[in-house]
């Protein structure tokens, strides 16, 4: 645990990518296989299941520290991180522990099955045997996501340096639903094992947003293929060995959520992997993303729900064909095979459609098509170089997304909450309201879009203009107007305003506008596509 905690501390104390990679590489060169595997698992969000709920963790931590629970809660609001708060308030430890990371994780896994009294005793003993930072790391493993500014990409790069295995190959090996309990470092990383690959998806190729004046940098427009950027769930559908596997972009196996795709077996040959977008499809038309959202959260898909919101796969790309990885072939060739495949099969019967590719002679013509995006229920256009291979992860150069301009509206800041992580102790999470009959009605929350300096300024103002406090939340004097951007809008019964917006964020601080000039709820409703 000492080494792992030391690693996390190093990763946490620098914001330079090179230093992070160096720290990880040297760790991967020195740690034993079990610890390495658990490190990879933890940094790719494969934590052991939470053995103790956070209510009990809080309670036990306050008992040991001798402070009342309310004081713990107040501290937590200010520190902004549960694992960190517990680590800070516990009494300073006098003992130390030499147990390895994998030993700790094994104990944490076993802890789930133990009676409450034994859990408490285990935590008590181990908390007091660790120093502050080890405790923090231990708590992180116990409680939640390990967000420490290390992406999977960065971890893979370090692992590649330590093992001399190509980065893209490693990225592929690390996909899927393995856990350290079902595999070993040797098997997962070092060996090639065909059966492990049966359900494995390929790493998704992701695009960056276009930059200013991108048209000049992209070369002849004839080299580019255009598509709409469909607004659903980016997924890979795998057909291998008479089985269908559906993976979401978040590397989640979601086969059970989309029973529709089982029909692919009748028309698509084994050894096929399709990259596409899962879209709601009602009465022969692409539906609204919100319709899909009602399906995502459900544990049990009722017949009624499946009938109400059927889905299709809108295919973008073909990654595997006849059991061969064809990602290195040019996009145009991969598409040719895909187009043929879909033409040859009874595609509308099985819910497999093609995301149509387009070519344009001028950027003006492309821009005209982009204007139709909202109407066609897409988020804008995708630009793909016709000869581009299918790369791993987010890469610049061959693929770009050219999204529609967001919706915008001017709203009044009404509530604020302290942020988490690097914004702990700063009021950075805001609630915004619009006018409705002379009253301000809350319609969205937004956390991003201001610079650090602006956040500091708003934070300062909030602390001086608080009306009421509700735990971590404060209501503030309505004084400031912000321009809020968002991607989608739909009616919603779950929101007080009757409107749900997608990905709202702050575009700018309208210091020039008094609150009377903020928009109304009716202005917002007028934006809903007919």
């Amino acid at each position: 645990m000492k080494d792992f905690a030391q690693l996390i501390k190093k990763l946490d104390s620098t914001n330079k990518t090179n230093e992070k990679v160096a720290a990880l590489t040297s760790y991967f060169q020195q740690a034993n296989d079990e610890d390495k595997l658990w490190t990879i698992a933890i940094l790719s969000h494969r934590r052991p299941k939470r053995p103790v709920n956070t209510t009990l963790l809080r309670l036990w931590a306050t008992e040991i520290s001798g402070i009342p629970l309310w004081l713990f809660e107040e501290s937590y609001h200010i520190v902004g991180d549960l694992a960190e708060t517990i680590a800070l308030i516990l009494p300073t430890s006098k003992k130390h522990s030499d147990k390895s990371l994998s030993k700790f994780v094994a104990e944490i896994i076993e802890l789930r099955t133990l009676p409450e009294e034994e859990k408490k005793q285990y935590l008590h003993e181990n908390w007091l045997a660790l120093n502050y930072f080890e405790r923090f790391v231990f708590n992180k493993i116990l409680t939640g996501s390990f967000r420490i500014g290390v992406s999977q990409k960065l971890m893979t790069r370090a692992l590649s340096k330590a093992t001399d295995i190509d980065e893209d190959v490693l990225a592929y090996k690390l996909m899927g639903n393995w856990t350290p309990e079902t595999t070993t470092f040797q098997k997962l990383i070092l060996e090639h094992n065909a059966e492990d690959y049966l359900s494995k998806p390929y790493p998704f190729y992701l695009a960056y947003a276009v930059e200013d004046n991108f048209q000049e940098d992209l070369g002849p427009i004839s080299e580019w293929s255009f598509e709409h950027k469909w607004d659903g769930i980016r997924s890979q559908v795998i057909i291998r060995n008479d089985e269908v596997f559906v993976w979401s972009r978040g590397e989640e196996l979601v086969t059970d959520k989309y029973p529709e795709f089982q029909r692919f077996l009748s028309e698509i040959p084994n050894g096929t992997v399709i990259d596409g977008e899962i879209l709601p499809f009602v009465d022969g038309e692409i539906g609204n993303f919100n319709a899909l959202q009602t399906r995502i959260g459900r544990k049990n898909l009722s017949k009624a729900l499946l009938q109400k919101t059927p889905v299709i796969l809108n295919a973008y790309d073909l990654l595997e064909w006849n059991g061969n990885d064809i990602r290195q072939k040019p996009f145009s060739e991969r598409r040719k095979i895909l187009d043929q495949l879909i033409q040859d099969c009874n595609c509308s019967e099985i819910g497999l459609y093609l995301s149509e590719t387009m070519s344009f002679k001028t950027w003006e013509a492309a821009a005209e098509e982009r204007k139709l995006s909202r109407e066609k229920r897409s988020e804008g256009l995708m630009l793909k170089r016709k000869d581009s291979p299918y790369l791993v992860g987010r890469k610049k150069g061959d693929w770009w997304k050219w999204k529609t301009d967001p919706f915008t509206i001017d709203a009044v800041l009404t509530y604020a909450m302290r942020g988490h992580g690097r914004r702990a102790n700063l009021y950075t999470d805001y609630t915004f309201a619009l006018w409705d009959d002379g009253e301000l009605v809350t319609f969205a929350k937004a956390y991003s879009g201001l610079t650090d300096a602006e956040f500091k300024q708003v934070d300062n103002w909030i602390k001086r203009n608080t009306l009421e406090r509700f735990g971590p939340v404060r209501s503030v004097t309505p004084r400031h107007v912000f321009e809020i951007a968002f991607e989608g809008i739909a009616e919603s019964s779950r929101h007080k305003s009757g409107i749900a917006t997608r990905f709202p964020r702050i575009l700018r601080w309208r210091k020039d506008k008094p609150i009377e000039e903020a928009n109304t709820l009716d202005d917002l409703k007028a934006l809903i596509p007919k």
Binding site: D12, P68, I78, V79, L426, K456
Partner: protein, 346 residues
């Protein structure tokens, strides 16, 4: 009803009987000053009273002012009210103010810390009935490590950076924190360089305090000269063009706020050392206990939380008062505004 000995009005902490303010935030006729930080020693009072060793410090900041210096424990009586200054241990020459009238004793801490830092005169508990205390770090999440350990970390950090051919830049505000850092840097590792704001203030306090040699970075200082050495600079220098001369460098900040990972990451600083000139949770509680007081008034910091704890868990008659000392904002932010003021003056 009897008027309290000290009241909080819109100008500062006021003793009506004596007609004297303490650390007033608006211009007043007569003001007792606890220490030299800008939020406690403001412009525009007609007459200042402070510790003799603080006189050169506030004169440096405020220019030619009318000021009387007092020694520790020296009683001065104004209209029947007995005043005296006692070490607060916050920074050099920082005082607590003891106020006594007709047998009733109040103490205002200004800012304070209980651990001796080898430079500031060590905090002295003063018996009183009512204790007005700061609680900048009044949460159980704040627990300081003994300073010897922190300085051992700082010196190791410097030595490692030097081995790697990099210059160490250590941020701490120019009055107090900077000199405390200077005092405990291990000069067998290398030379100490300073930013102008730090150098000027250090020159001022050298009159009364023994500090190691420092070299001011000027236009003529070369990159090679600085390399591997340590530079002490105010937080406002972070991100300025001045710092480019130090490339390749590593930055660190020394502050109580470095307890929080969020605060460290927010400032984009390579390393955070938890080193504060304020009392931590245990320090605050120990200080209150040692005064033997019955009433506590919490001023700047996590006042609501701290006073609730004192009331509900420890049975004190505790309340809060609003002041205009930097409230709830971070020490680093305070430092920036303080530095800005100092730099403008320089």
């Amino acid at each position: 009803m009897k008027q309290p000995l000290l009241v909080f009005n819109n100008k500062g902490i006021y003793c009506q009987q004596a007609g004297v303010y303490i650390d007033a935030w608006k211009p007043v006729d007569k003001c007792i000053i606890t220490h030299g930080h800008a939020d406690h020693s403001r412009w525009g009072h007609k007459h200042y009273i402070t510790h003799t060793k603080n006189v050169p410090i506030i004169k440096h900041r405020l220019g030619e002012i009318s000021v009387t210096g007092k020694e520790w424990n020296e009683t001065f009586i104004i209209n029947g009210v007995k005043f005296s200054l006692h070490p607060a241990g916050h920074i050099m020459a920082s005082s607590q103010v003891r106020v006594e009238y007709k047998g009733e004793i109040w103490v205002f801490t200004g800012d304070f810390k209980t651990e001796g830092d080898g430079l500031a005169e060590v905090y002295e508990p003063v018996k009183c009935h009512t204790f007005i205390t700061e609680c900048t770090f009044g949460l159980p999440a704040f627990k300081w490590t003994p300073q010897a350990e922190v300085f051992s970390d700082i010196n190791n950090w410097w030595a490692t950076n030097k081995e790697e051919g990099r210059t160490s830049i250590l941020f701490g505000y120019s009055l107090g924190k900077a000199q405390r850092l200077l005092k405990h840097l291990d000069t067998s590792i290398g030379k100490i360089y300073t930013h102008g704001a730090v150098e000027n203030m250090t020159e001022v306090v050298r009159e009364n305090y023994n500090l190691p040699e420092t070299t001011l970075i000027t236009r003529d200082t070369t990159k090679d000269e600085i390399k591997g050495n340590i530079v002490v600079a105010p937080p406002s220098a972070h991100g300025s063009t001045w710092i480019r001369k130090m490339v390749p460098y590593v930055t660190a900040s020394a502050s109580g706020w470095m307890t929080f990972r969020g605060a460290r990451r927010r400032r984009a600083i390579d390393k955070g050392f938890v080193l504060s000139d304020h009392a931590d949770w245990e320090g605050l509680l120990a200080a209150i206990k040692a005064t033997g007081c019955e009433k506590v008034i919490a001023t700047h910091g996590y006042t609501d939380i701290f006073s609730r704890y004192l009331r509900e868990e420890l049975g004190y008659d505790a309340r809060t008062e609003k002041t205009q000392y930097e409230e709830e904002s971070s020490e680093t932010a305070t430092a920036t505004s303080v530095e800005e003021k100092i730099e403008k003056k320089d």
